[in-house]
Structure formats: C-alpha cells, structure tokens
C-alpha cells in the first residue's frame, strides 16, 4: 500500500528575526505514524506549525496531503486535526462543551460522548477549562484534534507532562488511529514514545533532519552495538579478530574482560561463541548491548534529549 506521502517538506527555511528556527529541512512522511524527535529548540514545533498552515515558509516548499497549507488552507483544514502544545480552549468553557463545538464544525464528527468516555474526560463535569488538571487539558486537546475524523492528525508533544497512565491512554488512542488508517505526525522528546508508536522517526537538530528511518533501522544503522563477555585472561584477541567480520573490533579491556564492537546480529554472536568453543573458553556473562534510540540520538547530536 504505497500511496502519496502525507507530508512533503523540501528545503524549508524559517527565521524569526535573526534566529534561524528551521534551516533547509527536508522531510517526507508516509501514511502511518511519524515521530519528529528532537531536543528543545530543534525546530520541531516550527516545522509542524508550518505544515498546519500557521507559519509561512521563508523559503522551501511544504505539501500536506498534496496541498499548500497556506494557499489551500480552506481545502486542507477540514482534513487535518491539530493538537497545539498548549491552550486552544476558551478558559470558561467546559470540556464537553468545547469538544461538542469542534464536532459541530465538522460534517461527520465522531460520537462525542464516546470520545469523552474513551479519554476519561467524563469526570470533568461542569468544571471550566482553566480549572482542569494539566492532564485533562492535554486529553481535551487531543480529543479536539481527532473529533472531526481527519485523515491526518498533528500532535505537538501530546504527552509532555502526563502521568504514566494518561500517557498510556494517549498512546492507545494513537495506535487505534493508526489501525483505522489515520496518519499521525507527532513531535516528542520522549524516546520511548517514538519507539512505541512510530513507523518512522525523523530526528531533528539545529533546524534540520539529521536522520530518518524506522526505529529498528535507526538503532542498527547509525550506532555500533557492543558484545561483552568474560573468560580467562590473555586470550588471543588477534585470532578472534580474524574470525570476525572485518568491520568489527575486539579488545581485552581489563584482564579477562573482552569487548567486541560492530554490527551485532545473531551471526556475530554465533561466531564469537564458536570461536570460544574452539579455544576451550567458557564465555561467562556474555551480553549484548543494543543501542536504543536514546543512544542514537546522543551519538548524532551530542545532546541529551530532555534538557
């Protein structure tokens, strides 16, 4: 099922005064869930808000569902759902009232009562928006983004500051959206979120996409993995190296403690253990350290995700 990309961004540049927020960014998002991952100030929100039609690019082109978000806004708006990072609701409005209102702006909205139930907003009762908890406000914003039955939903840090339970509820909804054929673009600085939800991850730093791929591709692509084992001291590392693929390195870090760095896959593990068997070595405490997206990110940007 290869269809047209839902979002195509080419050479996007956006400056605010002298500050460059987005600096020649290219991004193609296919149908499914795409996570835009990056530290604060990387350009995530600017990119997403340009796709939503809020910002006019200084240069470059942006197409969302094949449309120009600024010039073809009227055509595009009914087809997308937007969750802002914060706010967006009348401070005196009740959750159900606001959600019903957004539903009324659409031709075939979801069942509002069911959505309220689904997101645990029923307990908000007659409380006005400004008195809702941060988590309730976030979930209301999420509900407002999906109630119009859009083809594509933009979620800007949908779980920032949520407790684990509320985060789980949000993740479950994103998974259901995906299963029903709704595409999702979400920004996050939670690695786990990207790993859990995304078909595709774009890592942004300094206003550019510095890596993109599925979580698996990114983890085995950019970063080297490590295999460690302990055995008797003074093994012939040179002979081990000969048995390994050429792009691997092996070393005895401290007496009896060995490390192999390279593309760690089942074949490599088998090579190491059979070499050990040939040399009468019992590889104690053999362990594989697979890189997470967190490591990939650190390696690519030199930055911690959550600053």
């Amino acid at each position: 099922m290869r269809s047209e990309p839902v979002v195509q961004v080419q050479a996007l540049e956006k400056r605010y005064g002298t500050k460059t927020a987005v600096n020649g960014l290219d991004l193609v998002a296919e149908a499914g869930v795409t996570a835009v991952l990056g530290p604060n100030g990387a350009g995530k929100t600017t990119t997403v808000e340009t796709c939503e039609g809020y910002r006019r690019p200084d240069s470059g082109t942006v197409r969302v569902l094949g449309l120009d978000p600024v010039r073809q806004s009227a055509e595009l708006r009914p087809r997308i759902g937007v969750m802002l990072q914060s706010g967006g609701v009348y401070s005196g409005a009740r959750a159900d009232e606001m959600l019903r209102h957004v539903a009324r702006l659409h031709a075939h909205p979801l069942d509002v009562a069911a959505l309220i139930e689904r997101l645990g907003l029923g307990s908000c009762g007659r409380t006005s928006y400004r008195r809702l908890s941060g988590g309730q406000q976030q979930r209301l914003a999420l509900a407002m983004a999906v109630v119009g039955r859009p083809e594509l939903v933009f979620l800007d840090e949908p779980t920032a500051g949520l407790d684990p339970q509320a985060r789980r509820a949000t993740w479950d909804l994103v998974k259901d959206l995906r299963a029903d054929g709704v595409s999702v673009i979400l920004t996050t600085h939670y690695m786990e979120e990207a790993e859990q939800l995304a078909d595709d991850v774009a890592i942004i730093d300094g206003g550019r996409v510095i890596a993109q791929g599925s979580p698996e591709e990114l983890c085995k692509g950019g970063a080297e993995n490590t295999l460690r084992f302990t055995g008797r001291p003074g093994l012939d590392v040179g002979s081990l190296l000969k048995a390994l693929p050429s792009d691997c390195t092996a070393a005895e870090l401290t007496p009896g403690s060995y490390r192999v760095v390279g593309k760690v896959d089942p074949q490599l593990l088998a090579t190491v253990t059979s070499w050990c068997a040939q040399h009468g070595v019992m590889p104690d405490r053999i362990s594989v350290e697979r890189h997470t997206l967190e490591d990939v990110f650190l390696e690519l940007t030199g930055k911690e995700l959550r600053s």
Partner: protein, 257 residues
C-alpha cells in the same frame, strides 16, 4: 496488537458554513453571558447608572425628565460596553490562550469567526436594549423619533467600537488590553456625553470630545430619541469615519497569536 475497529476511519469534511457560524456565535455568546466581569460591564453598570441617575438628582441633565436625557446615553454606553470593552477583553484573552490559533486550523474560516463574533455582539446588544428599554419605560421614559435612525446609529456605533476593540485585542497583550479597555470605558463614560452633558465641559474641549465615537453615538441617539430629530447625519458621519478607520486598522494589524 491493536486491530482496526473503524471508529476513527477518516471521514473528513467541514460543516455547512451557516451552521459553523451559528455554532461559533452561540458559543461566544454563552461564554460572554457566563463571565461575571463581562456581565458587570454590559448589564449591571448600564442598568445601575440608568436607574440611579434617573431617580436621584446627581447630575444636572438640563430641562425635562432625567430619564429622557439618560436613556439614549445609556444605550450608547451599552453598545460601547459590548462591542468595544467586552469584545476587546474577551478576544484579547482568546488570543493569549491560543483559542484564535486553534480555531484558525479548524474548518471555520477566519472571516467566519469574525462574523460569529459580530453576531454574538449583536445578540448581546439586543438583550441589553430590551432590558434597558423596559427599565427606562418603568422610569417614565417617553422616546420620540424614527426607529430607523436609531437602528442605523446603533449599527454604525457597533461597527466603530468593534473595530477599535479588535484593534486593541489584536495588537496589545491580553493584560494590557484588559487594563486599557476598562480605562477607556471609564474615560468615555465620563467624557462622552453618556451621563454628563458635554456642555459641562469648556467650548474647546466640547469640540474635541464631540468627535469621539461615544459622543457621536450618545448625541445622535439623544437628538432622535429625546428631541425627535430626523437623521443625525453629522453624528452618523463621525461614526462612519471611525468605523472605516478602526476596522481597516484592525484588519491590517490584527495578530492571531
């Protein structure tokens, strides 16, 4: 693994435009009527001023019954309180809290939002006029004049004050709008011929004050309702100029975020 249920399968589409605008106007009106400060401004203050100054002789309102002088001025004040002060404050905070931004990505077009805001202002004004008229009659008001002239004055006054209110809300910070809109309300209440006749001010001041939209509106309403004059073209002209300038400036300088 999650399985498809079809609950969320895409079925996008905008509601028909009239339905969107009606829904937006209804919500805006509901928010306004629910807000205590707004009610104080649009209902309580005009009502109190009308009742108090008509029954207690505090300000010398010239010959004739006090209510005949006051009722037109208070109607002008009601228009200003809703179209200018109330709308400026509400819109300022909607802008601050991202409501305008969120609605800008909904199917409702921006002009639709503005149309809804105008409808909401007009609905509120109709309620105000009904309430104030009933109270004024109870206080012995005997209005004259052409209802069409009154309607035209109210509509042009609403346009002028809406333009000024939106200009303020769309350019200043919400807190600054709150402070400035209340201050302007107070100053124009005193210096705009609402309850204090402009003749109380010096001749030079009168000329300047007479050009204010609130003075034009209260003076025009008074000419018609108290003195039974025909179309007050001078006052209508002043209001029209304010309306054109303020709406054009609001259109040019309004920032949605």
């Amino acid at each position: 693994m999650t399985t498809a249920t079809g609950t969320y399968s895409p079925k996008p589409g905008a509601a028909p435009l009239p339905r969107m605008i009606a829904a937006q106007a209804a919500l805006e009106t509901k928010m306004l009527l629910r807000n205590g400060e707004q009610l104080l401004l649009t209902v309580v203050i005009p009502t109190l001023l009308l009742a108090l100054f008509s029954s207690v002789d505090i300000v010398d309102t010239g010959r004739g019954k006090a209510v005949d002088f006051l009722a037109p001025g208070i109607l002008a004040l009601a228009v200003m309180s809703t179209a200018f002060t109330g709308q400026a404050i509400a819109t300022g905070f909607e802008r601050r809290y991202g409501v305008l931004k969120r609605l800008a990505s909904s199917p409702l077009p921006r002009w639709g939002l503005m149309a809804a805001k105008t409808a909401s202002v007009l609905v509120t004004e109709v309620l105000q006029v009904i309430l104030l008229t009933v109270i004024a009659f109870a206080l012995g008001w005997s209005p004259h004049g052409d209802p069409a002239a009154v309607l035209l004055l109210l509509v042009l006054g609403t346009a002028a004050f809406s333009g000024l209110g939106l200009l303020m809300a769309g350019t200043l910070k919400a807190e600054a709008t709150l402070a400035a809109a209340n201050l302007v309300f107070l100053l124009l209440l005193v210096g705009g011929g609402v309850i204090v006749p402009l003749t109380k001010f010096g001749p030079a001041a009168q000329h300047v004050l007479g050009l204010l939209p609130i003075s034009a509106l209260s003076d025009g309403l008074r000419d018609v309702l108290q003195h039974g004059a025909g179309m007050p073209w001078g006052d209508l002209g002043i209001l029209a100029v304010w309306a054109v300038l303020a709406l054009a400036a609001a259109g040019k300088f309004f920032r949605w975020e």
